[in-house]
Amino acid sequence: MSGTLAVTQPLRRRSRLRPARIGVYAFLLTAAAFFLLPLYIMLVTSVKSMDEIRLGNIFAFPIQITLEPWVTAWTAACTGVACEGIRGGFWNSVLIVIPSTILPILLGALNGYALSFWKPRGANVLFAILMMGAFIPVQVMMYPLVRILATLGLFSSLSGIVLVHIIFSMPVMTLLFRNYYLSIPQELFKAARIDGGGFVRIFLQLMLPMSTPIIIVAAIMQVTGVWNDYILGLVFAGRENLPMTVQLNNVINTTTGTRLYNVNMAATILTSLVPLAIYFLSGRWFVRGIAAGAVKG
């Protein structure tokens, strides 16, 4: 086969309908259908009336489309005494997410850099314990953390919740960057050291610029995690800084109250728009050859 297709490159570009190409699209479209099915149900439920939802035909297209659930979710859903929808916590969430994304990424990159290139003695033990920490469920750490933050005077404050997010994201962020830097050849680092670079200079001028793909992934993970975080914001942020997820959960969750499923679906989709926007916009950094180009240069 390789004999007859000696000049493989130009042939690949000309015949777009090769079986392999069709196979690629077939797989991707089938996978897309699997992934989109729940979203279809959510969208369709969010524009039905409760009477229609009670009939239980979850796949059926709405008999009558109503946008009221969306308006209610944003402006009028009850979340306690107040019935003002989920919009209240939007800016609080933004104020929490920004520092809770930037700082953990910086620290993770710093830790990963130190661990993979400088390897100070005993650091691997610290890293091992840190990774074990990633397996502890959040609630188990709740009581000790409350006491620690209370002692620091940071309980129920914006700085407190950012600190808590830094603590909980450190294992994953460090792991991401450390493993990413492990795949960068040591020659690069040694060459920079020979050129006279110190710890900080090499980090800022060489490693950080090369880390764009992993920074994007880290940002995706951290923004999603912090934006959707509920329990930490609820306990540590303080009443004035409660994130949007608290209102969202108040709208969706109840023990013995009535459930308005159409409003719940609309509220969930609305809340997820911010991480979704980040995913869509991060596209242009997923381009090939950034690290490769830097290696050559």
């Binding site: 306690g80 107040a82 309980f155 709208v251 109840t254």
Partner: protein
């Protein structure tokens, strides 16, 4: 002279300011859905009207709200009041000295004169009143869809457990779902409580749940209760596991199912679908003239503080929440009944009136499992019941397991 005038003016001004804004009360509760919101608003409106400032901190799901309240107390930033259930949930807080008592309000308003005994025993710990009870919910009502009954040819409301089984059989024959149920542990616990109350009777109920008498638990009467409980499982449809209670009520609303055993908050779902008690659906509190009225409910506790304004707020709240008119208003919107029977019942719906009438008979007042058992024991009991409901386990083994779970 000028200094004296200035000081006088300042103190008058400060005095005027502190009169303008009354005592601030931050309240943690878990009433977040539409109907619940309207209900809690009656409290906040009453409090604000009396000159206070209600600061609302609503957190969905009881367990979460309570854990936040506890964490805030531990972290040094307690709320003024926090919601708990009429249960042993807040006993540990009392033990650690983390709550203020409202003895003067209780004595002034005569709580021990009108509160039902199960509720009184919960809020009064070691002679002090540590919680303000605000409502009574009954978890074991039998709801039925009139349309479904008509279709199955059931002419009259069942008046005994046997008649209930006969009705369920008729529903099955008619092709409807006899018992609408959601397969979640707490819902199975409700079905069990209903059977224990109606088949076991008041004495057995107290022996098992309050006294935790091992002999009674291993006895034949309780065996019969468990077998009846398991018998009901055959009338539940296949899709029940995991289902939310609202979805089970929806089956009644759309006429697909006949009966549901659930608390009085179910009225909210019927109301949402514009269905009326007595017309579209029926409510049965229990079978027989002496059937017990199971009591569960909500209370507010007041975290310890020495801040004079906060203490004033706590006492104001405790007094306002138990006032008769507020009680009726709140319960109407919540689906519960007031904690006191000396209220005007004319504005309450048919089922609530039924409930209040039963409550007047002290011998029919029984607490829910969580009134007598601590959270750990209640949870262990729930685990055993839900396993028995879903699997084929010998009833003697279930009795043994329950006896050992409730032992400590």
């Amino acid at each position: 002279m000028k200094l004296k005038l200035l000081t006088l003016a300042l103190s008058l001004g400060i005095g005027a300011l502190s009169h303008a804004a009354g005592p601030k009360a931050e309240v943690i509760h878990w009433w977040t859905s539409g109907g619940e919101s309207a209900a809690v608003k009656t409290f906040s409106d009453a409090y604000n009207a009396a000159g206070g400032v209600w600061v609302d901190t609503a957190i969905s799901i009881g367990e979460q709200a309570r854990s936040v309240a506890v964490n805030r107390i531990v972290g040094g930033n307690p709320p003024t009041a926090a919601q708990f259930n009429t249960s042993k949930q807040f006993l540990d807080l009392v033990e650690q000295g983390m709550l203020n008592n409202v003895d003067d309000v209780a004595l002034r308003d005569g709580w021990d004169k009108f509160l039902p005994e199960p509720v009184l025993n919960v809020v009064r710990v070691k002679g002090h009143f540590y919680a303000a009870p605000v409502n009574i919910h009954m978890p074991t009502w039998f709801w039925y869809s009139k349309a479904a009954f008509k279709k199955a040819g059931i002419a009259a409301e069942p008046k005994s457990m046997d008649e209930l089984f006969a009705a369920l059989d008729k529903l099955k024959v008619a092709g409807l779902i006899p018992l609408a149920h959601g397969g979640q542990p707490w819902q199975e616990n409700i079905v069990f409580t209903a059977v224990l109350a109606n088949v076991g009777g008041t004495d057995l109920y107290l022996k098992v749940l309050r006294d935790r008498d091992a002999k009674a638990i291993q006895g034949d009467a309780f065996k019969n209760v468990l077998l009846t409980f398991k018998r009901l499982q055959a009338y539940v449809d296949k899709g029940a596991p995991g289902r939310n209670w609202n979805d089970a009520t929806a089956l009644l609303i759309t006429g697909k199912a006949g009966v549901q055993i659930m608390g009085d908050w179910t009225k909210g779902e019927f109301a949402q679908a514009r269905q009326l008690p007595g017309k579209d659906y029926g409510c049965i509190a229990g079978f027989g003239p002496k059937s017990p009225y199971i009591i569960q409910g909500d209370v507010f506790v007041f975290p310890k503080t020495t801040n004079a304004e906060a203490i004033k707020a706590q006492k104001m709240m405790a007094g306002l929440m138990l006032a008769p008119a507020t009680q009726v208003d709140f319960s109407n919107k919540k689906g519960s009944i007031p904690v006191r029977t000396d209220v005007d019942v004319s504005k309450m719906d048919v089922c609530a009136q039924q409930g209040l009438a039963i409550m007047k008979d002290k011998s029919r007042q029984l607490g829910n499992g969580e009134v007598y058992l601590n959270p750990d024991q209640n949870g262990s009991l729930s685990d055993i019941l839900t396993a028995y409901w879903n699997k084929n386990i010998a009833v003697e083994k279930v009795q043994k397991d329950i006896a050992s779970a409730l032992k400590n």
